[in-house]
């Protein structure tokens, strides 16, 4: 009995320690400058100013809106994921600086059981609550009904009641902020096709089976094949819905990416949350071992600025999902009194998605070609698929 008890304790302790370790590394990253780097990304990566509607408040003194509070509810992992959550934080920080508002950040516990609680906690003290991630969708619908005087926005969920025709917002105070990820992925697909020497590229998805990451895959493959239909694209996912570990498993991301590089794919695009960090590690190690130049393509944030500096040379470009722009604009809309319930789609035409050129690994000629595709997508000549062929 005693021996088995010890073994059991060891098992439980290791589970707990793993959880502690995950959380811990996240917060260390935050303090080591990830968050401060991210807003700079915003400026550096977009050549044009984000399509913000006229901002009357930008010149005003930064304390004109000190009575306004913005509450951010992160997805599991919180600040310091070098990707999705950090991008939201960057938008909130920018809004805080420009509008002089109060911003507070919270994240749910490890199993996400207290999403509704943290939303209510934010609603108690905020005028606008932005929930980062579609896993908040149902909880936001519930909490928003209890708090009609607070505005809510959910990243990555349309927050529409699709039973109605036409679809109606799930609440008068709820906005859904979604992105045309397939359009941004198309552009980095073009970048991959222009840079591959082996005529074979890879796609590393975080979690398959719930439709979101397939949008990235579909756009990427379409972009690659728009340049050269003969290029082979190998696609693989880390986990399958409902297992969401694929977004937080850099070790498994590294393993799959390494196998892709070994198999001759010289550019891999990871749409896998923090697992993508493993891909850049794999690229670096493959370069060191074989001397061949292989690349990784980042996602959500400009990962050149967010990955470990030792591997940033492998970041060819990043598909930018401008969560920061969405958070910023949603905040501005509430301050200006122009908040609209329902779905807002951030696509190429409003720079809601895009690609980064930090590191100057894309040549001017390549950028010109990518821009040509971009113009065609915006004017509707090219319609990017959202489901893989």
């Amino acid at each position: 009995m005693r021996k088995r008890l010890l073994i059991l304790t060891a098992i439980v302790a290791s589970f707990t320690l793993v959880a502690a370790a995950c959380g811990d590394s996240g917060s260390t990253d935050t303090t080591s400058g990830t968050t401060t780097a991210a807003p700079t990304t915003t400026v550096a990566s977009t050549t044009e100013a984000p399509a913000t509607t006229a901002a009357p408040d930008t010149t005003a003194a930064p304390d004109t809106n000190s009575s306004f509070s913005l509450g951010i509810a992160f997805d599991i992992g919180g600040k310091g994921d070098q990707s999705f959550n950090d991008s939201a934080a960057a938008g909130a920080d920018k809004a805080a600086a420009d509008f002089g508002i109060d911003v507070s950040f919270v994240e749910p516990n490890a199993d996400g059981s207290d999403r509704a609680n943290i939303l209510q906690g934010q609603a108690d003290q905020s005028d606008l609550v932005v929930a980062v991630g579609f896993l908040f969708a149902d909880d936001v619908a519930k909490v928003a009904a209890d708090n009609p005087d607070v505005k809510f926005a959910v990243i990555d969920d349309a927050m529409l009641n699709l039973d109605n025709d036409p679809p109606t917002p799930r609440g008068d105070n709820i906005a859904g902020l979604t992105f045309a990820e397939e359009q941004g992925s198309f552009l980095v697909g073009v970048a991959a096709a222009l840079n591959t020497k082996t005529n074979k590229v890879g796609f590393l998805g975080g979690v398959s089976g719930f439709g979101l990451i397939e949008k990235f895959q579909a756009g990427y493959e379409a972009g690659v094949h728009a340049v050269d239909p003969s290029i082979e694209v190998v696609s693989q996912y880390i986990t399958e819905f409902p297992d969401f570990d694929g977004f937080i498993s850099p070790d498994r991301g590294k393993e799959i990416a390494a196998a892709m590089y070994e198999s001759g794919a010289d550019i891999v695009y990871a749409a896998a949350g923090s697992s993508g960090g493993g891909m850049f590690q794999a690229a670096k190690e493959y370069r060191d071992a074989n001397g061949d130049t292989v690349w990784g393509i980042g996602v959500d944030s400009d990962q050149y600025n967010t990955v470990d500096p030792s591997v940033r040379d492998t970041v060819l470009t990043s598909m930018l999902k401008r969560v920061d722009v969405a958070v910023y604009q949603a905040t501005q809309a509430v301050i200006d009194g122009t908040f609209t319930a329902g779905n807002t789609i951030y696509d190429l035409s409003v720079d809601g998605v895009g690609y980064s050129t930090t590191g100057d690994f894309l040549t001017a000629d390549q950028i010109a070609q990518i821009e040509k595709f971009k113009a065609q997508i915006i004017d509707g000549t090219i319609v990017v698929p959202t489901v893989p062929a």
Binding site: R4, D114, Q120, L135, A137, G209
Partner: protein, 370 residues
Amino acid sequence: MNNPTLRRIALALAAPALAVIVAVVVSSIVLIISGSNPIDAYHDMFTNALKLETSIDILNRATPFYISGVAAAIGFRMNLFNIGVEGQYLLAAFFASVVGGAVNLPPVLHVTLVLLVAMAVGASWSGLAGVLKVTRGVNEVISTIMLNFIATGGIIAGLIVVWQDNTGQVNSGTTPLPKSGRMPDLNSWVEVFTRDIGKGRHLTGVLLLAIAVGVAYHLFINRSRMGYEFRASGYNPFAARAGGIAPKKMVLSAMVLSGAIAGLVGMVEVLSDNYRYDQSFVRGLGFQGIAVALLGRNKPAGIAVAALLFGFLDASRGPLQASGSASTEIVVIMQATILLAAVVAYEVVSRARQKNEASTAAALLAGSQS
């Protein structure tokens, strides 16, 4: 301290007190190293816990912890380590949601049906591990861990795409339970004694179920013949066997009972929170239950204290983030150190108790001889 009864009571209280002191000391050291003021952090945690809304949060959180703890404890009492509560409750919640969302029954019947389905699914899944153990001698730790993966990665992943409610939402899941299948919250009961509960908080009705589970567990393990046989087999399987207790039957029934209770762990979510199985369904409660059962020494009341303690620590994350007085990881660190310290402390105390009993017996023996 010469009175043996007093010494026994002191020893019984020593272990949990020691564990909490060690955890507070370790956490304080961690807080100081990470540049936070421990006094501020503990102050925030306690002032928050005294709020009515936080009490609701703590109870909502402790409810599944408690049921999960009891499920694990039933096995532990028999010396069986059911690591599979995790898979059992997820699978049970999934099937219960599917069935609950598909039928339309009068309110009480509907909830009863959902509960029965959940218990049946949980019991069959753990029963599988029991059958493997008694017929093939497969260690239940191994089989239940593997069955966890088969449940979540195999069965649920495979079937949810077939049975999901096609509303086009990104957060897809099963069809929500109709009104008749939902358990009402207990807010109105609480508000009789207190002020009105702030908006957005609902005390889960499943709390009553958890209390019922606790009472049933106490009666079963301490008052029933089968419970006695369970404990006897756990203390000494060979003696129990010699005493006429069929070991295979015991293993199987312990696994089945443990799984049936495990099936109820997800009911907070299904009956009173989300009303369906979707992508945000709470996972990890099965492992929390093991920790809670260990901390509570497999006793009905002990598990309740442990569940409330873990619930309190978890509910502290919000105010710690809001005030910024400490990093929320301190909560995980505290849970882990309390658990480890408790196991060590119980071990130390149990040795002391054995020594105490030995010397008492020796004294009695010496007394009777003289």
